[in-house]
């Protein structure tokens, strides 16, 4: 177990390092930087530019800049945001927390709903319920996230029951913790709902098809022949046997949620990584862009690592091979 986990962890770290180098190189390859953007405004002499470049270390070689960037992590900076005049990490951390606040509940809820519904659809294969689900999934898959966000906004405006954006009401900063908590959950409702609806269809479809495949297998029919209860059959026998591809999908669904949450955060003005990334890209605030993408990668790698651990726990065949 430990050897398998250590190997997977090392692989994950290696992947993260490789992605960071690649990202850094890509950012460098893009023409222009924050300073050249400022120069367009025409206030700066070339000499002053040069001095600023030296000050920020922009005149150094690629390798030196990369290692300085990584080294700055040791004193909690991860580069420096030129537009906010603050270390990038300090800017990013609260945003990361907000994004997690949004995506983690969405991840759990979508799986808690998607798995039983998928199993149900598989067990009623070809029946009217299955067909309704299939039609619903097709509709959901075709629905763009942006449209879902706009619908959410419309609901908020028409019903006046939900906030139209943000993550907390004004003048609650010195209210009791429980009040603030309730307020946060109230603000979470719509964006989480949008994320869940967006993620539900692929989960349901995958659960349905892998459970249906197991239901065609000889061992499932044999278990049926032994008179097991339908619930035991489906959830104790079929689901674990079908879990393998689903666990891999679980890891990947984190990536899917992150990309959707980018859109959701921007439209529903949730102060997560999304809006910050967008601003930073516009302003060529290199280290904030880098940091946001590195954190997204970190979530993704962590999700896949978690999926690997789950796979190990759930599949005896992998446990024995490793």
């Amino acid at each position: 177990m430990t050897r398998y986990l250590i190997r997977r962890l090392l692989q994950a770290l290696l992947l993260l390092a490789a992605v960071s180098v690649l990202l850094f190189a890509l950012m460098q390859a893009a023409p222009g930087d924050y300073l050249s953007e400022q120069r367009l405004a025409g206030h700066m002499s070339p000499e002053a530019m040069q001095a600023l470049r030296a000050k920020y270390g922009l005149d150094q070689t690629f390798a030196v800049r990369y290692f300085r960037w990584i080294a700055s992590l040791s004193h909690g900076e991860l580069g420096y945001s030129v537009s906010y005049n603050e270390p990038a990490l300090q800017l990013l951390l609260p945003r990361v927390r907000n994004t997690l606040l949004l995506t983690l509940p969405a991840l759990l809820i979508s799986w808690f709903i998607g798995v039983p519904l998928g199993v149900l659809a598989a067990s009623r294969r070809g029946g009217w319920l299955d067909r309704i689900f299939a039609a619903g999934n097709g509709f959901l898959l075709a629905l763009p996230d942006v449209l879902l966000c706009l619908i959410a906004l419309l609901i908020a405006l028409k019903t006046q029951r939900f906030p139209a954006g943000g993550m907390s009401s004004p003048d609650l900063s010195d209210a009791a913790a429980t009040v603030r908590m309730k307020d946060l959950i109230w603000h979470l409702w719509l964006p989480v709902a949008v994320l869940v609806i967006g993620a539900l269809a692929p989960i349901m479809l995958h659960v349905r098809s892998s459970v249906a495949e197991v239901m065609d297998s000889t061992y499932f029919r044999a278990a049926e022949g032994h008179g097991l209860r339908p619930f035991t059959l489906l959830f104790r026998h079929a689901l674990p046997a079908a879990a393998n591809p689903l666990i891999s999908l679980f890891g990947l669904s984190i990536a899917f949620l992150l990309s959707t949450s980018l859109v959701v955060e921007v439209i529903l003005s949730w102060p997560g990584l999304g809006p910050m990334l967008l601003e930073a890209v516009m302003a060529r605030d290199v280290f904030v862009v880098l940091g946001s993408v590195v954190f997204s990668t970190l979530f993704l790698v962590a999700g896949n690592f978690f999926a690997d651990v789950l796979l190990y726990v759930f599949d005896p065949r992998i446990r024995v091979q490793s």
Binding site: G126, A222, E224, G225, H226, G227, H237, P240, V320
Partner: protein, 530 residues
């Protein structure tokens, strides 16, 4: 069971009749053998009794009575579920596929018990342990935690039997429980079933295509063909039957009786043999079942032999004796750790056109979405032989040779029956004009009648193409009729190499065990050498 008829509705809307007016009766505690070729409706029968028919099946008439009065067909789903496993239990064909790969043996058996009896978890485990001991596991406690992939085929079949019998049903339906096992294991499983039948007073419906295997067990036999019952009687009565179909099932070897094998023509000294295997060794790393320690499995230990051109050599041995590894090494699919393989004096370094391997299960070895023509011409394309037109002509002539209708060249592999798929695999293997054909238990998935027909075909092809065969098998069916010589393998070694006629007088324990099991099962064709 009275006048049962079942139709399958095909997706084109046609009705295909699977059972026609089938009636049979089984008193408590008796054994009924159901005999028939593949496609005769045997498995539909077993599924109908348990009401596990696929959705496109329709019972058009008849009734199934169980005990005094119940008609199983009129029961609700709930009532039927209570009977499955508790009143009527099923063990199915493939022990490898009948158990859930991700649940422990203990869980799978105790789940069945807990579905029908209200017992605590602990009690269920105790009863499971006791049941596992009854089916012949000396250390059932350790088995509770084992997963199916950690067990051998025979062990899995025993576990499946334990699972079926844990609720002490009155009727056991055994749907070809032996066909995927080697001869020695077959005898072991038969003995377990025999013992349990007496102990538990079980009635058994034993579905099989090998009449001799159950001749000692069955009180009565029912012979089925095309979904109907064609004969009923005790084994001795059926053996005297003059009906051609019944005789064919009981004496499949009669279909090529005229071709008793001749002793091998020794190659002239000095000429290179077709195949020379020299000191071949191969080991695999595996993990120990319970402790998790790694250990090496020596699959082949210094195997050496030669075979001359135009010969048929059978390699026999139990499952796990290294036969398949040997086949893969000779075909160049696997690299040996030590030693070498020479074909026509040239070392084998990878797959090559003049040595072809036909796999154990043709059904899964052929891509179902390829057409017959694509499948047969693919090896020629890979070897760069002929123009498209020449290849097409060769495909058609090969199909004729192996007994397939050339008209069906454009049909997909998935549409052919099991026996036809095996012929397709054979045509594909012959496409590159090989000198040596390795048959790795290629026939074991077919019923005996089809096996006999395929062997006859192989012998005919041998004459016209000058082929040599390396025929790997785990049973002794027909062995006296086609093999020039027999190589007996055990634990990765060649135990001995004899002619079939010398087999009965062998003193080697491995050979003796195989022969004893073979004669107890009355392997067809074995009598010819006894």
């Amino acid at each position: 069971m009275l006048g049962l008829s079942i139709d399958y509705l095909s997706w084109r809307g046609q009705r295909i009749s699977a059972l026609r007016n089938v009636s049979m009766e089984l008193p408590a505690g008796k054994v009924l053998g159901v005999l028939g070729e593949s496609g005769s409706g045997k498995s539909t029968l077993s599924r109908a009794i348990l009401q596990l028919l696929p959705a496109n099946a329709e019972v058009s008439s008849g009734s199934i009575g169980f005990h005094q009065d119940k008609d199983l067909l009129s029961l609700t789903r709930q009532q039927m579920r209570a009977i499955r496993g508790a009143g009527i239990a099923l063990i199915s064909q493939e022990p490898a596929l009948a158990l859930n790969p991700v649940l422990t043996i203990g869980q799978q058996i105790s789940d069945v018990l807990r579905a029908h009896r209200s017992v605590s978890k602990q009690e269920a485990m105790q009863q499971t342990t006791a049941m596992l001991r009854e089916v012949g596991f000396p250390e059932p406690d350790r088995l509770l935690q084992a997963y199916p992939h950690q067990l051998s085929g025979g062990q899995r079949q025993r576990a499946a039997i334990a699972q079926a019998l844990i609720c002490r049903p009155d009727l056991l339906i055994a749907d070809e429980p032996l066909s995927a096992l080697d001869t020695i294991t077959q005898v072991e499983i038969l003995e377990v079933l025999h013992k349990l039948k007496d102990e538990l007073g079980l009635a058994v419906i034993f579905i099989t295509q090998n009449a001799w295997a159950i001749s000692g067990l069955a009180d009565e036999l029912v012979v089925m063909r095309d979904g109907g019952v064609v004969a009923v009687g005790k084994f001795e009565e059926l053996a005297r039957s003059t009906d051609e179909y019944v005789r064919g099932l009981i004496f499949p070897e009669k279909s090529f009786q005229n071709q008793v094998s001749k002793p091998l023509q020794r190659a002239e000294p000095g000429s290179a043999p077709l195949l020379r295997v020299q000191q071949l060794s191969k080991k695999f790393l595996q993990r120990h079942l319970f402790s998790g320690k790694k250990f090496a499995v020596q699959a082949l230990r210094g195997i050496s032999f030669e075979i001359p051109e135009g010969s048929t050599i059978a390699i026999i041995g139990r499952s796990g004796s290294g036969k398949s590894t040997l086949a893969r090494c000779i075909a160049g699919f696997e690299k040996a750790d030590e030693g070498g393989v020479l074909v026509h004096g040239a070392p084998v370094r990878g797959p090559q056109p003049h040595v072809q391997l036909i796999f154990q299960d043709a059904g899964t070895a052929l891509n179902p979405s390829f057409t017959a023509e694509e499948l047969i011409s693919e090896p020629m394309e890979i070897a760069g032989q002929g123009t498209a037109r020449e290849r097409r002509e060769r495909v058609l002539s090969l199909m004729r040779e192996v007994g397939l209708d050339p008209e069906s060249a454009r049909r997909h592999a998935g549409e052919f029956s099991g026996g036809q798929k095996q012929r397709l695999a054979l045509a594909r293997a012959l496409a590159t004009n090989p000198a040596l054909l390795i048959l790795d238990e290629s026939l074991s998935g077919l019923d005996l009648l089809l096996q006999a027909k395929m062997l006859k075909l192989l012998l005919d092809l041998q004459k016209s193409h000058g082929l040599s065969y390396l025929h790997i098998c785990h049973d002794l069916n027909f062995i006296g009729l086609f093999a020039n010589e027999v190589i007996v393998m055990d634990e990765g070694r060649v135990v001995e190499r004899v002619t079939p006629a010398e087999l009965p007088s062998s003193t080697q324990p491995a050979t003796r065990a195989l022969m004893d099991a073979g004669s107890r099962l009355h392997a067809p064709g074995l009598e010819a050498v006894l």
